[in-house]
Symmetry: C4
Subunit: 257 residues, 4 copies
């Protein structure tokens, strides 16, 4: 079980770096996963940019977003932990969460224009992308999701969906597994890029039908395309010298498998 946890932290470090390396997360944003053996806990880095996260930076939180053991001196947790904790509470089927301010998603977050699935990979956005505006319930804030009630409100807006846009702020993405989360974060982002490119032409959009969207999302989440994409992103990290170091515990776990 220690090894399962070590592997989870290593995988989470990889996931943090993939979404950074593929151009979606910059200095800010964060990626978490539910604890692999304790469903009432989640794992997330201390307050560092996802691009530089190591397995050893990752700590354990309760679903109330309280640290299980205190952080070492001199480091602090992310400010917006409640995004993660409140979604894990509300959605037992969700095992990984990412929050980002990627440039191509922001025009939709600002204007409220609806995201639509425009190609098979874009089906990852799900059948509906809800919209959350902190101003509706909380008035003028710094726009960050800092208080438990803000996190709960966002989780409620997400509802049974997989992606929620946050007005004048960014996006939060959910997945049943860490791989699915990374896949959805990247391809919902590519679909946003495509929608921007298409709309800039003044062209009329041709979204997928509900039936196509459902079939395409299911197909994309099958093991073969999931494994292929994960290999691709991992190799790209390795070639760039950005693959996270395996912790000793992680190496042991790997050797045993």
């Amino acid at each position: 079980m220690a090894d399962t946890l070590a592997q989870a932290r290593h995988d989470l470090a990889i996931a943090n770096r993939i979404v950074s390396h593929e151009g979606i997360i910059d200095a800010f944003g964060h990626v978490s996963m539910r604890h692999p053996t304790k469903p009432d806990r989640y794992l997330i880095s201390y307050s560092r940019s996802p691009e530089v996260v190591e397995a050893s930076d990752i700590y354990e939180y309760t679903l109330g977003s309280e640290l299980v053991t205190p952080l070492p001196k001199g480091i602090r947790g992310y400010g917006e932990l409640v995004i993660h904790g409140e979604i894990y509470k509300a959605r037992p089927d969700v095992n990984a969460v990412a929050h980002h301010h990627g440039m191509a998603i922001l025009p939709f977050c600002n204007t409220g224009a609806e995201l639509k699935a425009l190609y098979h990979m874009g089906a990852q956005i799900g059948s509906k992308v809800p919209f959350w505006d902190s101003r509706d319930e909380f008035g003028d804030t710094c726009l960050l999701v800092l208080k438990p009630e803000e996190g709960r409100s966002l989780a409620k807006a997400l509802g049974p969906h997989w992606l929620v846009l946050m007005r004048r702020h960014g996006a939060t993405v959910a997945g049943r597994t860490l791989q699915e989360l990374v896949f959805r974060t990247i391809y919902s982002y590519r679909n946003a890029e495509l929608q921007l490119l298409t709309q800039a032409q003044g062209m009329a959009l041709s979204p997928l039908t509900a039936g196509e969207a459902k079939l395409a999302m299911e197909r994309n989440l099958e093991p073969r395309p999931q494994a292929r994409a994960w290999e691709y992103w991992s190799v790209r990290l390795k070639k760039a010298g950005e693959f996270p170091k395996a912790s000793r515990a992680g190496k042991r776990a790997k050797a045993k498998r």
Copy 2:
């Protein structure tokens, strides 16, 4: 003949990596070529991202898209093999095929707007770019071309042309040689980028005349520009450390020439 095959697999690995490195193919998409000595066979990687394909990943298929010898345990073929097999069947003059979802081509694939040759290199799109919509014949699908009848329908839509757009999905490109295919894939993509940039200005397009398009396409496919472009893309792969390893058989073939 063993050496010819080894060389073909090495060249095909290079082609896979060039279209990835030049920004057109990401995790998905695939590139194949007809077998160099058996015209009723084609060569294609097992299901891996083109950016990481090695010569040793490439297997032999019949034109019915059946494996000639089984794949090693643990790996699987691409899901959309019939795109390749059905085009090779329908078009004896085609010896290489690429399928991709490059971002700049997708707005055309989504809206159905017509691609037009806007500069001499863009003449590679051919005199006409047909459009195929899986919905017309097959209704709601996951949009992938998985069944033989879907592949045949796509090949029929391609007809005598060199590029076919697939609604809400991507593009399929054909070439008489592997080098021509890579050249066409890249420059039809650049022409799409140009058309997007131009249309975003609300400017009126000035396409090539039919005469210009024909002369420019022929000129671009002469040995000198073809060799020059192939050298350029290969050197760029090498500088990035992405050139595929030469197989031992490939090295022997090279030494003999």
Copy 3:
């Protein structure tokens, strides 16, 4: 105190390289800071591109933009020093200044369209972004800010704000600290990118309210996000092999702390 100065020059070299590496400054543009112990002096490189500035390239100027000691033979100072000197004179609260011609800010500099904070990070532009047109007071010039009276006019236009757009030329950014300056330069630029992307859709913008903008700017300037962003940009410089060499004096200073 010598060590404080050495550390300041090292930090200023890092700042120069960060804004270059993040894509905002090219061959031209410059970054300065007020002298750490003599508030009537400022530090800036000799006339080199910020991407290549080393600590040892940085010299001391009076607020009248006169060199404190002559430059070595063969090198010259920047032409637009008065931008820096006149802002330090007019604004005792400003301790760092950047001037750039980043591509995403230039459409606003050309047309006079108003920059608006469109997401929480964009709050860094401040409550108002004044506009300065050299033509108003000085008629036809080469557009550079070369004369003291031009620098004074620009500093007056900046007023109590943090960013001033210069018509047909570029932007000048101010910060209370060097880190704040880098942060504001980068995130005001990202906000400009976002505004361009959004406007290109013909979508209506939803700017932050004045209250949101104030709260978001303050939050972003707290030590935790500032440290996190600085670590991120520094690590990126290091990974690219672009982190400036520590001078011997700088190393001593570091060892002592």
Copy 4:
């Protein structure tokens, strides 16, 4: 004098690589300079992509675009040599010429929309950018400038200016020195990028006045900014491992200076 020539070939290789590395020239396009001591000759690589040109690839041509000594077996000259030869003939003040199909210039080449200087660096386009359409005089061609009369027609269109757009094809740029040429090629391209970005907003352009454009162009061509930009681009080549090898003759020339 042998050393002057060696140095010229080395500088020309650097210039070829700079315009490639800065994203303007891809597999095609070419850069030449007038022979440093024989004004009736010019220097240009054999038919290779500028990104990979070495000093030793550069050969000597008459202004009639005839080789002074035959090329080694197996290599050929560029097809469009007459662009260079005819401009050197017509313009004794021009000592360097570049021809390219950079993406940001192509929308102007296609539509005929007028390029305008929108910021001080953009003044490099000159007071007027003439437009040349091969169709006017030569009807349907492959669009390349292959015949002496086509080159003469283009040179005539360029007239006393510094940049000429070629319809459905690309741009040709001229400079009094090789450094000026590189500077103009890059900053006229940046200005085109800016014009595209600005127009995509539907914003009204604010071009430089004729007076501003003249003063800004002159200022930019002074030795200080020229040296600073050349250092910047050269260092970037070096950091990327793309700086051309110095030939032995070139090294001797350098040692002597």
